[in-house]
Amino acid sequence: MSKLSEMGNNLYSGRVSIDIVGRRKLWYAIALVLVVLAIVAPVARGGFNFGIEFRGGSEFRIDGVGSTSQQVARDAVTSVEPESQPIVTSIGVDSVRIQTEQLDDVTTEEIRIALASAYGVESGAVTSSFIGANWGADVTSKALNGLIVFLILVSVLMALYFRTFKMSVAALAALAHDIVITAGIYALTGFEVTPAAVIGLLTILGYSLYDTVVVFDKVRENTVDVEFSETTTFASQVNLAVNQTLVRSVNTSVVAVLPVASILFIGAFILGVGTLRDIALALFIGIIVGTYSSIFIASPVYVHLREKEPRFLIKP
């Protein structure tokens, strides 16, 4: 048997117990520092770097080219704007479309010339125009609507299932922690915010709640009838539940992170898949933070909310 399952035995029996609930002031302090950092640092760095899908941008079209190679266009654009990640599409048989972030007039003209010479056409064959956002305000407002309805629904669902709304509150606290930190770290890397990254963040939202529900199911089981116990307290029963699910939490997060890490490191850095880098990064941070918060935020907050209830204080 591996060390982890031996550890699992000890955690399960309570022989080894990590005092998570008792040291909650420490976890709150860490969370507070991380959340503040996640909000302040990106702002100091200039906020999110929203991509063309959100802000719109510039579009170039080259007609009558001999070869519609996409790499030629990428090289031409990055020779003028090294930071740019153009989206290149070939249209019909002899046209190429290039979409970039919004550029000023001078840069637009430079890129036009660069593209014309790269494809060996007259600069008149390269036209440019502004394009709007595909992920416009209408998509964002609909997504936010959906999100609010989802959070209300899921809070009600959890309150009904666990028979206490305090678990919903604790789970939402952990969720807010995860989203803020994931978004903050994402902004810190300076990666462009793409629809894929936002979708990664939405996945984290689901994952964080999912993971909290798994831990809370054990908490619920351990704290049934705890008010009738003479030898144990509410807090220590929650702590036991967290310890008992610790091996599962570690195993799950490792298994969930492995494919994501594979996309992030192998895919993006070795094979060069630009698109997957953004979603993989958001997921990579989010899964780790999401697992951490179920244990170190959700459970202590839940104890905080409930242990002062009269029925847990007065022992029969």
């Binding site: 048997m1 399952s5 699992g8 035995n9 399960y12 029996s13 022989r15 719109g56 989206i87 599409t89 070939s90 249209i91 019909g92 479309r97 502004f130 394009i131 709007g132 956002a133 595909n134 992920w135 416009g136 209408d138 998509v139 609909k142 997504a143 959906g146 309805v149 899921v154 629809p195 894929a196 979708i199 939405l202 996945t203 994952y207 999912y210 993971d211 529900v213 798994v214 054990k218 009838d225 705890v226 009738f228 030898t231 144990t232 091996v247 599962r248 969930a256 992170v257 494919p259 994501v260 594979s262 996309i263 192998i266 895919g267 094979l271 898949v273 698109t275 997957l276 997921l283 899964i287």
Partner: protein
């Protein structure tokens, strides 16, 4: 005795799984023979496969300009219409100050083009006069047709002084000499309407039906598309309730629309032909002009015409999301390539595969022999997801994008979690001193609750976001919902039955060190006899009793019986 029923029910579950897999395979196989859209290869989205770029230019009358608000509103409506036709993650963006670029996978047919470009302004007007769809002067003379075309359709004018003022919308006094003249000269075969022409809703309209066989003088607009709260398509039901082959668009009006509709039908019902007809126009053409059969006061109406399944769906989708503030024409329609090449898809899949291998290695390290169950379950899940995607890309227009591929790769982790929750529960039961067969049954009852609760959270997320959002978010929600359902099917119909069967084999039940349920290792550290074990966790014996009582109250009768049987089996076989 109890044991053989376990085997039976395990085999039954596996048989069901086989039925589901074979069912989808059969459906798609049958579909691929009869329907060109069906295939075992899922269709790919715009980013992976390319498609068609349609540039739409607004249809503007002289001196008319399009505002940014109108353009944004049109983009939002077109996006909803495109989304309604499937989960394809299309791109709808503005270009410059006036144009809209719609990029969709595949090649759009007439219906799709109509869906994105038509303004779809629906109006209900009372019929005043009807006639044959050609100019009155010479019925079959082609020269006369030419004359009729040159006779400029003058904009409808308000009644002149000598004309009595009409009392209601069905009043024949609406017909001024000018309107009569316009009606007489009208030839439906000619292009009598300017593209993008906007009619004044307060005056009569002279127009033709869509097929060009009849022409009409219609009263002012009484109800319009803005009063529609919902629209759907379906077949017409006969009086006996059986469905016919006639396709129709069903409309639901908002309270204001319902009221006007009731008033109008009340007025038209007693009138003589053709003034008892109520014409429905779409972008200025009459789609249908049914005779009023009854006063309609329930706020719902049905439009029949020359619809088939697809065209009725197009109209319903157009009406549901509202009419565009302006009409558009297709300026150009060109093929576009994928923005991500085949090589990128291959790289993505390769990365996913490497991730999968790492998961297998890790689970073999953690769960030894049980890794067989994990790998088997993942393979079943993968096959099921693949079949479902192929099926949905045929039936629902689902298209797999790069983000979708990433979502599926991530789902590996979430699917495996169900097995981990289950396996860890089994280990907990073994730590409590139960033998494997009993441990598997007890652990299942507890873990399926956890799995159901956590999957319910994921599924709520998927369903809510799918119903309430548009664009990429909707595509994501679809993938999430799909993998959640597959996770549940696999764990119930494959993982659990397989573990039940394996628990009966000697390798696993003896607690072999490589089985993942090494009973010695699991019991060694914590187990001190039942009851005493709990003391280690600072629990009173009374509490342990209450816990099991609580668990018992949550069981169904059959579960309780099964547990009793299992406990007996444990007593006799466990020592």
């Amino acid at each position: 005795m109890a044991a053989s029923s376990t085997v039976k029910s395990a085999r039954k579950s596996l048989a069901w799984l086989f039925v589901i897999l074979a069912g989808f395979t059969g459906l798609i196989g049958f579909g691929s023979l009869t329907d060109e859209n069906a295939s075992f290869t899922p269709k790919l989205a715009l980013d992976l496969q390319g498609g068609t770029q349609v540039i739409l230019a607004p249809l503007l009358l002289d001196g008319q300009a399009v505002t940014t608000e109108q353009l944004d509103q049109a983009v939002a409506i077109i996006r909803q219409r495109v989304d309604a036709s499937g989960v394809s993650e299309s791109q709808v963006i503005t270009q410059g100050d006036t144009n809209i670029i719609v990029s969709i996978p595949g090649v759009p047919d007439e219906n799709t083009l109509a869906l994105i470009k038509a303004s779809a302004k629906l109006e209900f007007r009372a019929v005043l006069v009807t006639g044959q769809g050609s100019a009155l002067t010479e019925v079959d003379g082609t020269d006369a047709t030419g004359d009729a075309t040159t006779a400029e359709p003058t904009p409808a004018e308000t009644p002149t002084a000598e004309q009595p003022t009409p009392v209601d919308a069905s009043d024949l006094n609406w017909i001024t000499p000018e309107i009569q003249q316009q009606f007489d000269a009208l030839d439906c075969a000619s292009a009598f309407r300017e593209p993008g022409q906007i009619d004044d809703p307060k005056v009569p309209l002279v127009t033709c039906d869509v097929s060009g066989t009849a022409k009409f003088i219609l009263g002012p607009v009484e109800v319009d598309g803005a009063n529609i709260s919902d629209a759907s398509n379906g077949t017409v039901q006969s009086s006996t309730g059986a469905s016919t082959n006639t396709w129709a668009v069903n409309l639901e009006f908002d309270p204001e629309g319902s009221e006007s509709f009731a008033t109008v039908t009340q007025r038209l019902f007693p009138l003589e032909q053709p003034r008892n007809k109520f014409a429905i126009t779409l972008d200025g053409f009459v789609i249908t002009a049914p005779t009023t059969q009854a006063v309609i006061s329930n706020g719902s109406a049905q439009i029949t015409g020359s619809f088939d399944r697809d065209s009725s769906k197009v109209l319903a989708d157009q009406l549901k999301y509202g009419s565009l503030p302006i009409g558009f024409e297709v300026q150009s329609q060109e093929n576009i390539s994928a923005t991500l090449g085949q090589d990128q898809l291959t790289s993505g899949l390769l990365a996913g595969l490497i991730g999968l291998v790492l998961v297998v290695i890790y689970s073999a390290f953690q769960y030894r022999g049980l890794a067989i169950v994990t790998v088997g379950s993942l393979v079943v899940a993968a096959v099921l997801v693949y079949l479902l995607i192929a099926f949905l890309s045929w039936r629902q227009g689902y298209r797999l994008s790069m983000a979708g591929v990433a979502g599926l790769i991530v789902a590996i982790g979430i699917t495996v979690d169900s097995f981990i929750v289950y396996f860890e529960r089994v280990r907990d039961e073994i730590r409590e001193g139960r033998n494997l067969e009993v441990a598997v049954e007890n652990a299942w009852k507890r873990s399926i609750r956890t799995i159901l609760a956590s999957d319910a959270v994921s599924f709520t997320a998927a369903a809510t976001l799918f119903l309430l959002t548009v664009g990429n978010v909707r595509g994501f929600a679809f993938t999430l919902g799909l993998t959640t359902i597959v996770d549940l099917i696999v764990v119930v119909l494959f993982t659990h039955p397989l573990l039940r069967l394996l628990a009966r084999t000697k390798f696993f039940s003896s607690g072999h060190p490589w089985s993942g349920f090494d009973s010695k290792a699991l019991k060694a550290s914590g187990y001190m006899g039942r009851g005493q074990f709990r003391t280690a966790a600072n629990l009173s014996p009374g509490k342990a009793g209450k816990v099991s009582k609580e668990a018992a109250t949550r069981q169904t009768i059959s579960e309780r019986k099964a547990q009793q049987a299992a406990q007996e089996a444990e007593k006799s076989g466990g020592k």
